[in-house]
Symmetry: C2
C-alpha cells in the first residue's frame, strides 16, 4: 500500500457520488463513503479484505460484513464494479447512468481499463435476444496485455 498513487480525480468522483445519492434518496453514509474513497483512491482493483485492512485503525476494528455491506450498496448504486475474475472491486467511471461495461485487465501490470463499447453491448444483446434471453446485467472481462506491457 506504500507506493499506491492517488487517483487524479478522486474528489470529483466523490462529489458526484454525493450528488447521485442525494438525488436518489439513498444514504451515502460515512462507511460507504469511506469504502468508495478507498476504492477510488486506488489505481487498481482492491479485494474486500484489502479494503478492510485499510479501514482498520486502533479505534475501529472493522469486520468483513461491514465491508461487504458497503460494497453491496455501492454496486447497487452503480458506483463501483466487481471484477469477477479477480474477486476485486473498482470504481465506476460513469456512475451517472446504468450501462453495460467491459473491462480490459492487464495480466502483467494489473491495470484495468473500463470500456463502454456500444458495439460489444449491442452484439451481446443481439446474441441474447436471438435466444430469447432477456439480459439483466453482464460480466465482460478480457484478460491480456495492455498497450504499455505488450
Amino acid at each position: 500500500m506504500a507506493d499506491m498513487p492517488t487517483h487524479p480525480d478522486t474528489s470529483k468522483a466523490m462529489k458526484l457520488a454525493d450528488r447521485l445519492c442525494r438525488e436518489r434518496g439513498v444514504r451515502l453514509t460515512k462507511q460507504r463513503r469511506e469504502v468508495l474513497g478507498i476504492i477510488n483512491a486506488s489505481q487498481r482493483p482492491l479485494g474486500a479484505y484489502e479494503i478492510m485492512e485499510t479501514m482498520r485503525t486502533d479505534q475501529a476494528r472493522i469486520a468483513p460484513p461491514t465491508v461487504y455491506r458497503a460494497l453491496d450498496f455501492l454496486m447497487a448504486e452503480g458506483l463501483i464494479h466487481k471484477l469477477e475474475s479477480l474477486h476485486a472491486y473498482i470504481g465506476c467511471r460513469h456512475p451517472d447512468h446504468p450501462h453495460f461495461t467491459q473491462f480490459l485487465i492487464c495480466n502483467d501490470c494489473g491495470e484495468v481499463d473500463e470500456l463502454h463499447s456500444s458495439k460489444v453491448s449491442g452484439s451481446l444483446n443481439d446474441a441474447a435476444e436471438a435466444r430469447g434471453f432477456k439480459p439483466d446485467h453482464s460480466t465482460v472481462e478480457v484478460v491480456g496485455l495492455c498497450a504499455r506491457c505488450r
Copy 2:
C-alpha cells in the same frame, strides 16, 4: 442431486474428450475423466465441492486439491469452462478448438447457454485492439431470464 437429469450426449462428449487427449498426448486419467463425466452429466454448472461430494464414497474420500487439479487440467484442455460469476464449472460444447465463448445464465432456472458469437468476440477484439490491448482470454457472462422463464 436427486432429480438431476442426465445430459443427452454425455457419452459422445466423453469419447471426444478421450480422442482429443490422445491426440494431444495428455492423459485423461480416471479421476479427470470422472470429474469431466460428473460435469457433463449435469445440466447445470457445478461447484468444486459439489463435484467432490459426488465423487466421495465409502472407499474414496476425495480432498479439495484432487478436484481442483482435475478442474485445472480440464480447463487447460478446453474441456470445461469456469463460470466466474457463479464459481461453478460447466462442460464445453466445442472442446475441439479454442474459442472465445459467451454464456447466458438464467437467473430463474439456473440454466446456462454457451454461445460463440463471432460478432461479440469480434467487437470485443476490436475494442481491445483500439486500446492497444492484446487479449489472451475473456470472461463473458450475461445474467438474465432465459426464453422459458421470461
